[in-house]
């Protein structure tokens, strides 16, 4: 019995139509796809030297164009591609609808104050979350201490959250 059931499961269509209990809708992509996308992102961040403490210092001191050139080309590219997806109603590769949830303004305090606190830390570590992971890969093992401390920071936020203005 069990063998027959599992055999039927394995041979069912990708949409799971053969089994009434299977969730409707297309099967999501395997996690390896996201690992691969992450590899591409990590390679670009590293080759662009966006993960370099020196580049971040050069940016915050307004002494070089490199990082500003990256922002000045990345942001318009992001705006054009994401707006094209929204306006043309483009769907995912598995034909799911693409839905972007708008950010809630609240009183706006969290964005300015939280953003500024983040910036203070960014100036010290020279790395925001993406680069923290990339730097670990390039062999700066001590970045794991910064990642561990960031986890502690997030946990502290989770603990203080009911008392903080948003």
């Amino acid at each position: 019995m069990a063998t027959a059931d599992s055999a039927r499961q394995w041979t069912s269509s990708p949409l799971g139509a053969a089994s009434p209990s299977a969730p409707r809708g297309p099967r999501p992509l395997g996690l390896w796809v996201y690992v691969f996308a992450g590899i591409l992102f990590g390679v670009v961040l590293t080759k662009a030297e966006v993960i370099s403490w020196f580049r971040i210092q050069e940016m915050f001191r307004f002494q070089g164009f490199h990082m500003f050139g990256i922002f000045a080309t990345a942001l318009p590219t992001g705006i054009v591609t994401v707006q094209a997806i929204k306006r043309r109603g483009i769907r995912t590769v598995r034909d799911e609808a693409i839905v972007l949830s708008p950010k809630q303004w609240g009183r706006g305090i969290r964005y300015l104050v939280g953003g500024t606190i983040f910036g203070l830390g960014w100036a010290l570590t020279g790395a925001c979350p993406g680069p923290l992971f990339a730097l670990l890969g390039t062999g700066v093992g001590v970045m794991s201490v910064a990642i561990g401390s960031a986890l502690l920071g997030i946990w502290t936020y989770g603990w203080l959250r009911p008392r903080l203005p948003h």
């Binding site: 961040l45 993960i51 403490w53 992001g78 591609t81 570590t125 923290l132 990339a134 946990w155």
Partner: protein
């Protein structure tokens, strides 16, 4: 060939490529691009402590993103170890001079080797830089609800006002941190 691949990429190549990632993740699976969510997923997985902020199904919501973060790390191995740029980062000479005045001596890698090494953890300076800096990055990103990728790139690409405000905050904090906090920390 190896020489060409070990070169750093100019901003006009790297910038447009970076800008494609929010759209790429939407097309792959309607995923909101943002790296800092992984830190929240890690907290939810390891020490949720009953806090409401960490009470959600992190496997269901975060598995794809944790896979993405693993990929970023592997990308660092490929571009930073296998195809490592042997030359120092070509920052402006004024920046080199300013940083030398703050006591930085090792300009050979992507990060100053005299600060970002395990031995730094024997000093208050090292803990303030790595531990303090990491804590502020984590707390700030959670409070702001996103980081450079989630707000700065994906939020701005979606023309979200709150993300533009957050990006301004990132920058204001970064400049203040560079001129006020960093000299203090490096003087410890």
């Amino acid at each position: 060939m190896y020489d060409a691949l070990s070169q750093p990429w100019p901003w006009y190549i790297a910038g447009p490529l970076i800008g494609c990632f929010p759209a790429l993740l939407l097309l792959l699976g309607n995923k909101a691009f943002g790296v800092s969510s992984n830190l929240r997923h890690a907290c939810a997985a390891v020490f949720p402590s009953g806090l409401a902020h960490f009470r959600y199904d992190w496997r269901r919501e975060g598995a794809w993103n944790l896979a993405f973060a693993l990929g970023i790390c592997l990308g660092g191995v490929i571009a930073g170890v296998w195809f490592r740029n042997p030359a120092p980062v070509a920052i402006a000479t004024r920046t080199t001079a300013d940083l030398a005045a703050l006591g930085i001596r090792d300009f050979s890698g992507l990060v100053p080797g005299d600060l970002f090494r395990w031995g730094s953890l024997l000093s208050l300076r090292g803990w303030a830089l790595l531990g303090g800096g990491g804590f502020l990055v984590g707390f700030g990103t959670a409070y702001a609800g996103g980081c450079t990728s989630g707000h700065g790139l994906a939020g701005v690409a979606d023309l979200q006002g709150p993300s533009v405000l957050a990006l301004l905050g990132f920058f204001a904090g970064g400049v203040a941190g560079t001129f006020l906090l960093l000299p203090f920390v490096l003087g410890l």
